[in-house]
Amino acid sequence: MVKLDEIQKRLMQEVADLHTVPEGAYNFRANGELAGRQSTENIEIVSKSDVSGIDIRIKDNTKNESVHIPVVLSASGHKETVYNDFYVGENCDVLIVAGCGIDNCGTGDSEHDGVHRFFVGKGSKVKYVEKHYGSGNGTGKRILNPVTEVYMEENSTVEMEMVQIKGVDSTKRETKAELKAGARLVVRERLMTHGEQFAHSIYNVTLDGDDSSADVVSRSVARDKSYQKLDLCVLGNAACSGHTECDSIIMDEGRILALPALEANNVDAQLVHEAAIGKIAGEQLIKLMTLGLTEAEAEEQIINGFLK
């Protein structure tokens, strides 16, 4: 990592678990500038010429390789929109780690809007991990508005893990996926808001091919006076199966609005939605207290486990 200062390194650890330069391909972005890049034989990263962002091209049959593209913002008042396109060839098996950390100690709002598009080739398998993290005690807000679009060819698999646990004041996350025959999408979202934070998460998943499937599970905790809105929409246009689940804990004066939507346009589409919102069950607290924890410690354990 050539140009990173201590704050940026810490953010890098939070969002990408990176202590040193990772193996494989990577692209580091800090305060809107390129801070390090490496392509490999099978994975090529090039800057876009028209807008800010990169194209990541992964060759057919690339297996067990990874791409890290973390972004950190430590300059107060910095705002940016970045477009990253992933072209994943056929029969690949790759790990993509993205994520954004913002440290804002100043008065200006800092904002990173990342637009990620994935074009996943036939039979390929992609694991995508995205973490968002905010820190700093300035009055400027930390804002992240990610847009993720996933276009999946036949028999491809995408597993997405989206995590936003701490420090992001405002977020609007939009995720769109289109699946062809035999494609499989698994999404695990974990979200915690506190203070007066606001988070809106929108999923639009379209199952176009026979035997395609989607499993979208969101677990979230709203504490203090924070507010969350979750739109989970699944469209079944073929003999497909879709499952969405929204499981939320509310604490203090936290509020959550969950809006599930299922649309079946084919008689063989099987779509299921589950949703539950409520405070921590009293019995759970009591059980952990009988094991010697205080009420506050018990609460912490339950939340940590829930969001693990």
Binding site: K287, M289, T290, L291, Q301, I302
Partner: protein
């Protein structure tokens, strides 16, 4: 030693526990039985601190714990196994055993507790303590968390509730082992089951919130068969 002195507990005017006094010395294995609605589970919850008595005193090793919180009682060495084990989304068996042990025990230590309750550790250590586990499995894990506490007083509220006959047979073996290995640890089990009553040093018969009988197993057990107040447990024994 646990002492309950003239303990009463009422909910909206209805007496659930009525001027009850009971002493459980160290190292004793006591089974509390009696008809449903007689106050057994309430008594167990009063001992654990989940409910507080309306009047009377509870002493543990000579110290008045009547107003003490659940947490403080747990720290003093009182352990409690729920009749309906609680489920947790996200917490796995190892997490729960570590919380119970009060330290970051390693996997092989955790496995010993699971082995004691007859669970193959490698199949369970990473399992979430949620609805994917059967009633019998949850019961055993609940007991394992009590064992991991290494407490001087263990209270089990109807360990047989909600599990099938086969699981129950295995469960009684756990208590038989605890009985043989018992040192200074006192064990109180709320139960209707003959096999558990048979392991006891002492049997307490509770009905209408009062102790109706209390004595050595050999004295009380034969009486239960003919007694009207014990009709409920006896019916279950058949």
């Amino acid at each position: 030693m646990l002492e309950l002195k003239n303990v009463s507990f009422a909910v909206e005017g209805a007496e659930i526990i009525n001027d009850l006094s009971l002493t459980v010395p160290d190292g004793r294995f006591v089974v509390i039985t009696g008809p449903n609605g007689g106050g057994k589970s309430t008594l167990a919850r009063l001992i654990a601190g989940i409910e507080k008595p309306t009047s009377g005193k509870i002493l543990f090793n000579g110290e008045d714990i009547t107003e003490m919180s659940i947490t403080d009682r747990a720290k003093k060495g009182v352990a409690f196994a729920f009749q309906q084990p609680v489920r947790f989304k996200g917490l796995n068996v190892l997490d729960l055993l570590r919380i119970a042990a009060g330290k970051r025990i390693n996997v092989s230590e955790a496995c010993e507790y699971l082995a004691e309750v007859g669970l193959c550790a490698k199949d369970y250590i990473d399992r979430e303590v949620n609805a994917s586990l059967s009633g019998g499995e949850l019961k055993r894990i609940e007991i394992a968390t009590v064992l991991a506490r290494n407490a001087s007083l263990c209270v089990f509220d109807e360990p047989e509730a909600g599990i099938d006959l086969w699981s129950f047979r295995n469960l009684t073996r756990i208590f038989e082992n605890m009985r043989t290995e018992q040192t200074d640890r006192s064990i109180i089990i709320i139960s209707h089951q003959e096999r558990i009553l048979n392991i006891a040093d002492e049997i307490v018969v509770l009905s209408d919130g009062k102790v109706r009988e209390h004595g050595a197993k050999d004295d009380i057990f034969p009486k239960l068969a003919g007694s009207e107040l014990a009709a409920e447990p006896c019916r279950k024994l058949v």
